[in-house]
Symmetry: C3
């Protein structure tokens, strides 16, 4: 695909060469995200950060990525105060809002809404999550994290083993990540879920059709063995029609230091899309692993900024100009831990 | 009037020369709004974008206009979280908030509140809408749009014919636009409304006293004939004391392709302050006109950015410095359609 | 203490030399806050302005202070939309959010939450108020105001007399201000409160142990005599377990022009942390004093911007670079009154 001026609506639009290009640019964003240098490449550009559903972390991550490139950010944080509640069509909203900015990130609770919006938008649109449907930048940062973590252990995505654990029925992130992994070769997926929260069969079929091996199990300890990566997920109670039903599954599959030591390889990378539910009855990923060197969950969110910066620079076609506009950082930039 | 340091509280404060000056500056903002050039003329300035009533589009439009001139924007988006809810007077709010910024845009649900606020503000204040009362930048962008649209057809505001359609009783925009049109000569107004939602008699009297011709009718098809501009409005259900009553009028006067072709001049400009209510029972302006070259509704909102940029530069007295600070835009700026 | 890279969590962390240093830097921020000059010293830096409890004025004040130094501001304005509501720990929130910015201001309703957050944050954190517990920048701006106001009258904090009036039980600001005044010598405190809303005994004991004189009284008029400063407070009804109980005390101790003239010294400075409750049944500080030259309440909030700018420059270690990056202001900067 050509990133220049493109909408980013779905993980399905990428080929492997696109991913490689994106991750190469993301790597080059590190000195900026780590505050070694400041870039002004988008000085004067405006991001319309349109969140018609609340999401502090995704919204702030996109906003910071744009600020790190020197741009301005205008925002909205809910649906209630928008004209959509007065009967305005997404077409009209898009025509209006896209007159205000150079690029738009949009989150909206309704599946398909962001694509519909993009059709009428005069500027490029990035899907920041359309309900249970897609959230491509999250899948990209997950994949980028796997690549980086395995690379540091002299391994790669082709040929790896990954366990996915928890609510694989509702988990948008594992669906999208699986979709991206279709672009790679010879992966072993171990899907550890309660029988009722299994990965949708279409996705399992696609994985198999792509030549990957898929094992489905309810036995967590057995499933954890021999994986390069374990990807844990939260029970998505907000996606259950009956919220009480979510309680049945909450806390059923947990990873902690003891279980990790007993079952995982010493090199197994631990991932989670966050937020993790640390309440006692859930606690799918225990705090006793917080200091573990293979716990990649906070590197994951940091990588999100890099991937979003890469998307902005590729879409707005400034990758070659980032370094030109760089200057030294003059303030305190030490980071704890 | 002298724009320098002035509050913009009401359309009544303008004379025709002020309008001419404002529109001339708005014209000169085009290269910046269209991303041909970037201006840093307000680099370091701060806009206090104080919305004590939600309004995504007006808030974002003002914020973008300020960003396009290089300034920072600090915002609030509701009344609930403000000190006003703890018994603070508008006087105190104004004294405090005006210490934080160089200029303030304020929206507040209570008529007269923005003027009261402005009296105590130490910096210039622009009324971004005070309930059913005034919203001067909307009226200015409407008038600017009429001027530009007619100009492209070799016509002008003096001597034109305009039909206003819908809820002219509650529609703040048509009241303010009429007020501005008092500054022009020999206009024919055709006011097409249900009898119960007619334009307030004071306004009709003022129009007549200014030498304009006013026709009031419930017959939409007849009323649409021979106009340079048709200005449609939404039934303002939020302004009805009895919301059920709004249902009686919703959907009664609609414009679509067939009605337009049957009744309007081939050159008639179609306007609407937006949002339009596209739900089936309302639909006062049909989507089948979306591709019509005379549909000016999205040019209208784009013009809003130009008019707001012009207000900022005139009030902050930097009109002569905008071009000096201009630089090339380095990122993707193509616009679809 | 060393400000460089430090968290600002409590007034208890300061020694008198720290305060002197901070106030000296705050003084040097005046030309920037008063728009005589623009600084770009933090151009490219990002403030995470994380308000998990609404507070327009504190949030906007911190945001403007950062903008005045040239930095970007990313914000959140409530708890509801945060991942904390999905069971995320403050540890996780801190690890994630601190990857997005160079410094964080955090407000949160729960006492101790900001300190807990700071422990896991990779960047410096300023406590913007953690429920009834601490709000150090407010106490610092109060102290800074007292210093400046007395200085203009050739007096100083050592040896001064101050009356504190109203709800001294729940008033976080008077607690923190008292704590800071422990660093000074020989102050006379007159605490004017209903018996049930007296200053906590621990604080009174600390003041006495530091060699200060403390008088507690329910007699407002007598208590007002012979003070350099009168510090009024609002009945903090939101901190009462029984809100009806707050009504008993509201409006009991008021200052107005007549009471001031009758009891205060002609030089007595009038302060209030704001918002003041100007509803008729409260009105603890009457509007008839609004034009009084000793009314310092709006200078207080203006000083807040200076103190917050000073905190940012000291923590991010750019105090020596502010003037280097300064440039002329090119826009209208006259201030009314």
């Amino acid at each position: 695909m050509n990133f220049r001026g493109a909408h980013i609506l779905s993980v399905k639009q990428f080929e492997r060469a696109d991913i490689d290009r994106l991750f190469q640019v993301a790597d080059s964003m590190e000195p900026y995200a780590h505050r070694e240098r400041v870039s002004k490449v988008l000085d004067g550009a405006i991001l319309g950060n349109m969140f018609f559903e609340p999401s502090t972390r995704t919204r702030v991550s996109f906003g910071c990525a744009f600020n790190l490139l020197g741009g301005h950010v205008r925002e909205t944080t809910d649906l209630k105060s928008s004209s959509i509640s007065k009967g305005e069509s997404l077409y009209d909203t898009a025509r209006v809002i896209s007159g205000y900015s150079d690029i738009i990130v949009m989150r909206h609770p309704q599946p398909g809404s962001v694509s519909e919006f993009a059709k009428a938008s005069r500027v490029p649109v990035i899907n920041g999550g359309d309900g249970p449907n897609e959230h491509p930048s999250q899948a990209l940062l997950d994949l980028y994290t796997i690549k980086k973590e395995l690379h540091s252990k002299d391994r790669e995505i082709d040929g790896m083993s990954i366990a996915m654990v928890g609510d694989l029925k509702h988990g948008r992130t594992v669906h999208s990540l699986s979709q991206l992994l279709l672009l790679y070769k010879n992966i072993t997926f171990t899907l550890i879920t309660p029988n009722e929260l299994r990965m949708p069969v279409e996705i399992v079929s696609e994985l198999k059709a792509a030549g990957h091996q898929v094992i489905e199990t309810e036995d967590m300890e057995a499933g954890l063995m021999d994986n390069d990566t374990v990807y844990l997920t939260r029970i998505q109670e907000e996606r259950f029609t009956n919220k009480l039903e979510a309680d049945i599954y909450r806390g059923r599959f947990r990873l902690n230091q003891a279980i990790y030591t007993r079952n995982c390889q010493p090199n197994t990378v631990i991932m989670h899309p966050l937020p993790r539910d640390s309440r006692e009855d859930a606690n799918e990923l225990d705090n006793d692993l917080n200091q573990h060197p293979n716990l990649a969950i906070f590197r994951q969110t940091d990588n999100g900024v890099l991937v979003r910066m890469a998307l902005f620079t590729l879409i707005l076609d400034v990758t070659n100009k980032v370094d030109e506009s760089a200057k030294e950082v003059g303030w305190y930039t030490e980071r704890r831990f």
